[in-house]
Amino acid sequence: MLGDFRVVFLGVNYLDIVSSLVTSFTHWSPDLLCCCCRNMAAHLSYGRVNLNILREAARKELREFLDKCAGSKAIVWDEYLTGPFGLIAQYSLLKEHEVEKMFTLKSGRLPSADVKNIIFFVRPRLELMDIIAENVFSEDKMHSPRDFHILFVPRRSMLCEQRLKEQGVLASFINIDEYILDLIPYDGDLLSMEYESAFRECYLENDQTSLYHTAKGLMTLQALYGTIPQIYGKGDCARHVANMMLRMKREFAGSQNQILPVFDTLLLLDRNVDLLTPLATQLTYEGLIDEIYGITNGYVKLPPEKFAQKKQGEASKDLPTEPKKMPLNSAEELYAEIRDKNFNAVGAALSKKAKIISAAFEERHNAKTVGEIKQFVSQLPHMQAARSSLANHTSIAELIKDITTSEAFFDNLTVEQEFMTGVDTDKVNTYIEDCVAQKDPLIKILRLVSMQSVCNNGLKQKVLDYYKREILQTYGYEHILTLNNLEKAGLLKLQSSTRNNYPTIRKTLKLWMEDANEQNPNDISYVYSGYAPLSVRLAQVLARPGWRSIEEVLKMLPGPHFEERQQLPAGLHKKRQQGENRTTLVFFLGGVSYAEIAALRFLSQMEDSGMEYIIATTKLLNGTTWIKSLMDRPESQSS
């Protein structure tokens, strides 16, 4: 019944081999180079669609704005934006345009800086406007007259400007502009808006701001990559976005896009069509890194102990205390190779890599002539980078292994897989009960209970109430708000009279594969060691044989499904070469997990699929960050 998630016995040996190999290398050269720092964005242009075009467009616009504010500048940052901005422009670009100082937006007085311009980079939020107003007010006007500017990201807002006006500071700003940064390229095939609250706003608050930005972002994308001729969608939000896109296209009927379409199809998927997938623990390498340490804006922070550099002949220095921050993207060759593998296949991959690198270094003994030595030396930087990359990922894999081999992890996974296969989903689960009694993190409990509810198409009143009482009594009654939210979002549900249709969905879409192969996968179910993400199955079926084959199931899932066509100007119809793949942009409204991305990448690589996928989303998420975004924690005043 359980998948082949046999971390306990597999992997260990490989990892040990790799570790020993890596240690044996360390005397060779102490300077470890990071292979991913050279060209920060090269990896964006490797893919089927050159996403660097989007990044370049964004950079150009940024430069233009900075030049509008002549003279030296200081940027005051809405802290949330620094991460996403880092993917568009490094400090060097800002520096070239006379940005001399950077501050974090906070109330009170601005730090002194001998600059001509103060530029606020902010999201259009009222609470931030109040802080800006405070900053402007407390500016010493006599001493150093500085010009103020605001750059709204991703869009300027009349509401915010009105607020600044009410506060009496609107006139202090020389430039008020917007920086339309909807879709940020995260990797060669991945775009995210990093709009944290999108799911919550759509499903709890009936606020569709994020969808408007999505539609706008898709219009920008089409302006750069051509009109997407076919649009498919499933879910209410998908329908709404498609409607807005079609409307926007009509509104700009005149400016006909003359670019040959890069994308053949757009697939819009509501997160609430597939509530199950993000709840399950991701079992790919990248997915596990995210589950355990959290990836934010393409970086992960890791416990430093494993990464202390021991140099030969030196006494081990004090261990670093700062977390080690590492970029994670396909610019790093090794990471690109292993990120989407099931973790159980990572050990073997690392071991193989270690042997290749080892062999490459051994070549030095064969280098006899000056030419050969020269050739060898010229390859050294690349080899050293590869070796350092291997060392890093071996360390990370060891950290993860410690967790995946723990009993707690195994027990949790067992229960998840029971739920997904439909075992005892209608009763109170002992493991969950025990976890509550042990006061395990609340989010873990909420993830499991939600999963059980989703896999049972709702829980019986008695079961649901029991769980809810357990949670309130153990973690505090204030969580009644969170529970209400989860019910509103459909994650917790009272079973209605209609019968549980999850088994039908599971069977029709083959959501559970008994024989998932983790090492050499032949199906997307490898990403969860047995469970095939529903969302990705929908994409897969759409490509072949088409949604008509699963009408029944589509009707069981929430929201409408639809197809729209966008007219292309004559002459832009692609003449497809035989065997040429089609490209689909899959847009997850409300978030996507790394395992789902891995599954789509797997489909892109399948030789006979004929389809390549580019992935876009409102937010990169996992079960924990997702549930967190739906929680309400009233601040208690009593102590």
Binding site: A70, E127, F252, G254, D434, K468, Y475, D632, S638
Partner: protein, 690 residues
Amino acid sequence: MAFITANWNPLGEAFYRKTELYEMCWNLKDGLRDSLVAAAPYGGPIALLREPLRRSPSSRPQLEIYSASGVSIASFPWKSGPVVQLGWTVSDELLCIQEDGSVLIYDLFGSFKRHFSMGQEVMHSQVLEAKVFHSPYGTGVAIVTASSRFTLATNIDDLKLRRLPEVPGLQGKPTSWVVLSQDRQTKVLMSNGPELYILDNTSCTAVVPPGLSPQAGSIAHMSVSFSYKYLALFTDTGHMWTGLSHLQEKLSEVDTKKTTPPKQMVWCRRPRSQQPSVVLMWDRLLMVVGASQDTIQFKQLTPQVLIDRLVYRQFYPLAIEVCRYLKIPDYQGVSRVLKHWASCKVQQKDLSDEAIARAVCVKVGDSPGVSYSDIAAKAYECGRTELAIKLLDSEARSGEQVPLLLKMKRSQLALSKAVESGDTDLVYTVVTYLKNEMNRGDFFMTLRNQPVALSLYRQFCKLQEQETLKDLYNQDDDHQELANYYVTASYREKRLDSRLSLLQSAVDEYNKAKNEFSAKATEEEMRLLRIQRKLDERKGAGLLGLSLQATMEALLALGLHKQAEQLYRDFRVPDKRFWWLKLKSLAEKEEWEELEKFSRSKKSPIGYLAFVEICMKSNNKHEAKKYVSKVTPEQRVKAHLAVGDLEGAADAAIERKSDSELAAVLARCPASDRQLLDRLNRAAATAAKK
């Protein structure tokens, strides 16, 4: 055929010839003497203001506008203040810069359009000189005042005034100055006696033109080329220096042997050589000086500019013909013409709203890039609200309709259009507007009919106006949300009594919402708070605000077992959870005897492996072993392993013939213990065969 060189005249070593393109058909009695003159670039219109400084009210100066060929377009007496400078914008609008710093804008037919001011400072000290200049950002105006300060606006359509830094030693106006647009910045280059300065937004820098002879003297006149690339300087000793305007390269220097500064000095291009040259004009002398071998490409007169020219002169059919002939994309061509035509059409007073709306819709249709809301705004400006609304109906972009609808006080319609656009910021804007405009009741009713707007307003209230939020829920009889609201509010309350009363309100609302579970849970919460208060008062336990579980935990830690058990019964805590709690608490306090007693109090609902493990957690193997025998068969291997009893674990695993359990024991078995290894391997082999 005439002799080919007949009309060529010698000029030094070269020859020239004059060709008359057309005759100026104006009739200027006094010539251009004592007049301000401004000619728009590329053969645009010419404006003329005679005796601009004549201040007597009885004889006002006359402002005249001519076409490039001298055909009079408009003429009217100047009734406003004294004018310092005339100039034309890139879109053929006439700028009249007055002494008091106000700038009046007219179209080329002489109708007043708008005005703006060059700043407060000018009010006190007059404008001495002004210049109109063109840059990629549009048309700009620069002035220098009697207090010797420069102020400039780079684009008059997006007015941002910049007061430039003070120039050391400058009194009154400078000897000469020009505006430069380079490196995306607008600067002023000025001379004051022997000094030459560059002024930008932040600094005033003294500069020296490279290679200018030391004996050349002070700069008396300067001129910059249309592209801002070249600069010509004329000194009081008659030297003329030409070079690149960023002052890093000299092109030439010529001694003109004329010490009076020229009346005019301009850059031009000689027809044959394409060479940039400077033309200097004195009263009776014209001099052309070549600058370099370099060529300047003037490509400013694009087809767009040409079409604009036609449009400003209202030659619409001709403009459309030109667009079609040049195959200019509709968006930039025909549509622009139609837009302009329609804006003009809506001002026709002799036609009915109906007729105009029909005419506009028929002609414009759905031409790309023509904004009906812009046309409507024009109609509204002319006081034709009804026409504006009719025109707005044809606007496809609902978002675009909103600002005008608000301006015209059609707020309900504005709200539905905003909702339609999907732009939430726009919805917020209308909602804020409505909120200020309507009384509360009407406002709420309006929102009720617009669920999207209502949800957005709720979001706004959540962050900004909690009280209003309550009113909204009340109005909608949304008891569930109202109850949640009270729960949230209760946590903001410091005093327990107020907190309890808010929770009571929550209970009432949950009941009304038929949410029995939440009502009961909230009642439970109130009960717990009261008990906590009592215990805090009596025992000083510091419990208030803890969860039920944490309360019991704290009580057990304090040794208040009776009170903890009371809670366990009162709140119907499941046995399992309570057993876990007590087990952990006893182990933590190392009360091993109590623990053993507890284990025997009844059959453990959590089994006995938990007892083994908790003892081992406290490193008490002795106590742990007591419970191994009580563990169920399924957990026996685990229990033996937990206490480090490999033999026992092996026995249990072999007895149960479970390959996974055998493997688990094997994994823990040291390689040295050959005997045990063999036993396990044999058993594993047998288990595998089955």
